[in-house]
Symmetry: D2
Subunit: 427 residues, 4 copies
């Protein structure tokens, strides 16, 4: 199923009048603060977020999975789903592929399909945290960090293979999420595991094309429950530094211990030019993988505040970070969930864009804590949703994506096409 522009026009016709009024009002209100709403809208239009190929079906927990209907059964259908998202929102113009769940058997055809949908290929993702059916050696006790050199070799080769798939599609980066760790004291030797990981990464890095980037994710726990080899940003940063200037740290919002100040980590990484990208999601307890912005929207805004500041004052020449959603859709329609995530990310981005930077800087110079807080809260409390709508409208998307999605009966049509009991590959 693909969305025709006539569908979009039809929906927008019903909402345009209210929107135009709201946008006009918001523009005036922002003008009071010397903010040019149109300029913000233009920046926002350029802001594209990658959708992971594994996030288009229902997720689950170790206690089970409740399926949803009309899930995509193969890579082509996944691309189609992202195409739907992108047609509605004009902000999901990239896919992040997972290997081996979504191997592009015919790269040319996949590229062609993506191109038709106006979608590019963002970071590739390898998987050495599960055993595949035909796999020679098990990753039960690790992969890149494994005590056994043969297992490490297999894992290294898998990553190199993922790169080659990516090259065929035009991707320019690979994300390594290394789940390796231990669940019990005594299970592994920390130092040796870290050293093995460094050596394995060096072998992968040696095969990295000149114009590629390698992103190293970190996470404190799960699926192992005592230690994780790359447990925090410090470990990822250490590895990225030892690898070289094509290696970067990737921040997944859910991969932190309770109460971590993530925005400061973002700032520190950009201070040394080592922020590679983001996995967006939200969480209350652990790596809950909930809809972005559903739990801690102010934290998300503070993170974007650092990102916008960092990119505007890019002394360490940090490359443009990769933006990606990484959530699990256990209860909601995955496409609705992704629409809500996209909206929350863009909201935080716009809020960060309208921060009174000069005023903030002056307040900081004077240690005027109250005013510093006022300035950040002012941007956050401003209702900038009309700017998000305007950006979509100008790019050919719909004003209100969730409403349009329902109005157009998209899920029902997908169920009709694909069936009501479906299982997408992924988590």
């Amino acid at each position: 199923m693909r969305i025709q522009s006539s569908h979009i026009d039809q929906y927008n016709a019903s909402a345009i009048k209210v929107h135009e009024n709201n946008y006009r009002i918001t523009k005036e209100l922002l003008a009071q603060k010397s903010i040019d709403a149109d300029a913000v809208v233009e920046k926002l239009r350029q802001f594209q977020i990658a959708i992971p190929s594994w996030a288009l079906g229902a997720g689950g927990t170790r206690f089970g999975r409740f399926s949803t209907g009309g899930e995509p059964g193969n890579l082509e259908q996944k691309l189609d789903d992202i195409g739907l998202l992108h047609a509605l929102t004009r902000s999901a113009g990239a896919i992040s592929l997972h290997i081996p769940w979504d191997i592009p058997r015919d790269a040319q055809a996949i590229k062609q399909q993506a191109s038709e949908l106006d979608i590019v290929f963002d970071a590739m993702n390898s998987n050495t945290f599960q055993d595949q059916k035909d796999q020679a050696l098990s990753y039960k006790f690790g992969s890149l960090s494994h005590i056994n050199a043969d297992v490490r070799k297999q894992a290294v080769e898998h990553n190199i293979e993922v790169i080659s798939y990516g090259q065929a599609l035009g991707s320019k980066s690979i994300t390594v999420w290394l789940a390796d760790g231990s669940s019990f004291p005594g299970q592994l030797n920390f130092r040796r595991a870290l050293d093995n990981t460094l050596r394995s990464l060096q072998e992968i890095y040696a095969q990295l094309p000149a114009d590629w980037q390698l992103f190293i994710e970190y996470k404190p726990y799960e699926p192992y429950f005592y230690s994780t080899v790359i447990q925090d940003w410090g470990t990822s940063f250490l590895l990225a530094n030892e690898l070289g200037n094509k290696a970067y740290t990737l921040v997944d919002l859910g991969h932190h211990l309770p109460n971590t100040n993530i925005e400061q980590i973002v700032s520190t990484l950009m201070y040394r030019g080592k922020l590679g990208g983001f996995h967006f999601n939200d969480s209350k307890y652990g790596d809950d993988d909930l809809t972005v912005g559903s739990i801690k929207p102010y934290q998300l805004y503070l993170i974007f505040n650092e990102l916008v500041y960092g990119l505007e004052n890019n002394t360490a020449q940090n490359p443009a970070p990769a933006w990606m959603i990484d959530a699990s859709h256990n209860l909601k329609d995955p496409l609705e969930d992704l629409i809500q995530s996209l909206e929350a990310i863009r909201l935080a981005y716009v809020q960060a864009l309208i921060v009174d930077r000069q005023g903030l800087w002056d307040a900081q110079l004077n240690n005027d804590v109250s005013v510093g807080q006022e300035i950040l809260q002012d941007a956050f409390r401003t209702d900038v949703r009309p700017l998000l709508q305007e950006a979509r409208l100008r790019s050919g998307g719909v004003i209100e994506p969730i409403k349009a999605y329902r109005y157009l009966n998209i899920r029902q049509q997908l169920i009709k096409e694909r069936g009501s009991v479906t299982v997408a590959t992924g988590l």
Copy 2:
């Protein structure tokens, strides 16, 4: 120092035009959703928050305290400070007194002063977590829970004395924050400590006037670091149930373990009619006592969402909760900090008032998770600040309190009156 209405008028004159336009716009936007802005404003005008007598000076940590100037040196000056707050915001019309830091030596005069300032006396607070100079027995190892009956008796009598101070002033409730606990396994016998606490509270409760309420606070740790006798809402609820129908649980937002779902606790207490009141503040790590709404504004809103729902559907006949700020002002001017807290509380309250309750209910009936989230986020993302300004304006306060506070040079005048090196009693 007192603020003349002419000062307020003078400031408002400079801001009224922009405000009127913003209020008109907001009113129209809310009308689109069938919300009557004026009715919300009237509800908001009735909403008064108590200021604790110990929060008007600079707070500190165990590592020290950096003083601020112009702090109030006695109860009369503290009342004056709250008078300033109330004159500006028209939302701080109550004081919560702490004994023995702020003993009203001349109750009649204090009542008279408060009355002139339009301030009433909210919950009284006892203190058995510190030793006072002339104190016979030490609370080092507990008070109401102490192993020694004489110490318990002394602590009980102190609480009864606090009630009598409150009676003289017209207060109708006492808050017991029992810090008692232990810092090491083996230090105390949990069961005996809890049983002693119950018996001590029963003795206090026996002296509670018929029209009074007793609020029992809970807290997981600090100032003791292994156990606290009343460690969580469950323990407070157990005690309140055993005491009787004038005993209630009090929720301090900072008194929870990491990641606690506080809004659900609020709902459960109201479900059984046992929510007595609130201590508002915000925190990232522990009982940080930061400005309300400065860290997790969405959580604050979700709590108000439960409060508004609970009071509108008050099947268990929960009495109107006591609202109080309990923060520590280590870095900011305490009055500015309190203004920001008042604003954040009122913002959350208004956001909760404009939630589409019927729509939310329908979504819940259909397990429509996406729409349930949309409805809550819609109210939160709406900029309702003009309603807060309008409520102040209608009640004779200032449109923008922080700006007016600075415009009127209030702190400078307080420093002139009281000196630049001052120490208020309190934390």
Copy 3:
């Protein structure tokens, strides 16, 4: 496969000499402190722990599962596995059955088999957190708390069916772990969900045989990630009190927020006679379900310290709690993992038994914090493993169960019998 007593004798013969020496030494050392080692050994021999029927195969996470060989394929084989454990350790003389994973189709035969293995039937467990193949209505959005009365009815009937299965086997209790909750603010109405839960539990309770107990588990999160209907002991306690005197709270060690003082919760529940039982496991981050005692052995000991004290001073007539292991075996041989858990539980129990209660009491009377700590640490630091060995020996078990398990090649035989690629029902 069953273990012959000759196998046990054979193994013990190799270890008896060292053991006897160690036991003699330990007995002398304890005698220095006026502790009768033999009496402790006899108490320990009476201490039996239930094994859950779902813990005999490899567990996994949402990221996958690495299988182990020789897993039991049906209830009979699971009983056999527990029989092996019990034969070796003489401390696993009970099974806790999960329905519908392990429905006893032929109760008579199952009872007969259990009796031969000297195993009794501990608490039954219902499951309304997963959908079964032939299930009419889905539990995706809850069960006992569901907004839809038909779903609640289905879940109530399932629990009543579980009770009837238990009656046929001689069980005397049912554990309700209610996973119900929500993953997003707005998804459910807290109060209605709790009220529905209470009503559903009342319907189950009405069908509870006169000599049965109902255990109500609590958990802060997972599988839902914003709220859980029974989020903490306070909620479980509230429900148990409303249900009546056959309802109790069950404590799972992994079901707490970070840093919770669990031992104090145990004490509070016993203070009011409402501690129903335990699910033992260990964890570092969340509900990690690791081997008991592998992460925080001192906490486990402190919990047993409360249990032993509470049972020796049982003023509220708390019934004897149900002891059960509830762990997930993702990496280790499940039987070895269970042996280690049994050992850790028994170790903590013996350490708690040898605490100098009178000395501790005296220290508490004098607020002698240092000595209180010394006394608790003294028992914990004493090496009482020879008492555990002696208890096994006297009961016909093996001196060193892990070593014996390997010496007897038990896993290899199970693989031979059952195959190397097996999947047990369960998590």
Copy 4:
């Protein structure tokens, strides 16, 4: 007050017989595992722990402080107190000085006194988290990271002055605990604060004598509650790397977010030769500064397991770390508290020394998780206290320090000498 060796002999006479028997038994038990108890005792005798000059009086919280009697009133008395500790335990042969609380006005006399007491000068500690009476500029808004260059300069000069005090005494290192941070979003610019910190540290480092080390502490929060400039080991490691090979990271056990795997951090730092030292304490919730080993003794042991392994396999040539206690004594007699901390540290050290390293290595090679756990638990569960006693005895200390301390009425004598209401400088 000083302890005569006759006092020690007198006490030991009463305990020697039991001790000799216990040591003999323990030696035999260890010999069964091919461990030479005497060799362990000799290693232990070399193991000295520094006592901070601020830990000899009663500590407190922001809620107050309950004093103890006989506290030392000046540096000389503090040295005397450590002298008492060292005479009893023979393991506290170093002092860590804090400036400006304990400025050595007459360095020669202080050195002489320390020499008589057999005490050396460990790391010096600077203080830029409090304002001193005669201080020109305030540290309320930071010190080494301050936005104002003059404040930074003052803080840098203070550190350089601390180094010069240390040189006069023979110290060889300085510990920088930088409390700088912020309590509200917007208060400071993360990147600038970090950059200012780096530059300030570089200025201090430039003045560091050739044979000195600079230790950089980290901490996530407190006394600031939103951000801390050096929030984690990664930030400290980044700074230490940029400074040079005399700069190292210092680990304070209480300075971590909930559930942090500290032992892995230790391993990672040693992997790159950047572990400078330790501040020992224990905690359940935050930076509780409790007696070492009183809450999580197994974690402490796992940390020592990494330390012992790291020092025995010191491929990165990490220098010998500085060992120091950093606790706050709110309830116990500070000297008793320190004795308990010393005992817990030494216990963990000995347990780590007797780990079967070869067996552990073999288990790890085979991913034999159960056996890896067994080996670590075996050492931890072994009662090695007689080795600690033997080490003290051989070095001229007492067999049982807490008992001897009370037997010798030390606190009573200190109160007699110094008075019962005393306040030591410090926290």
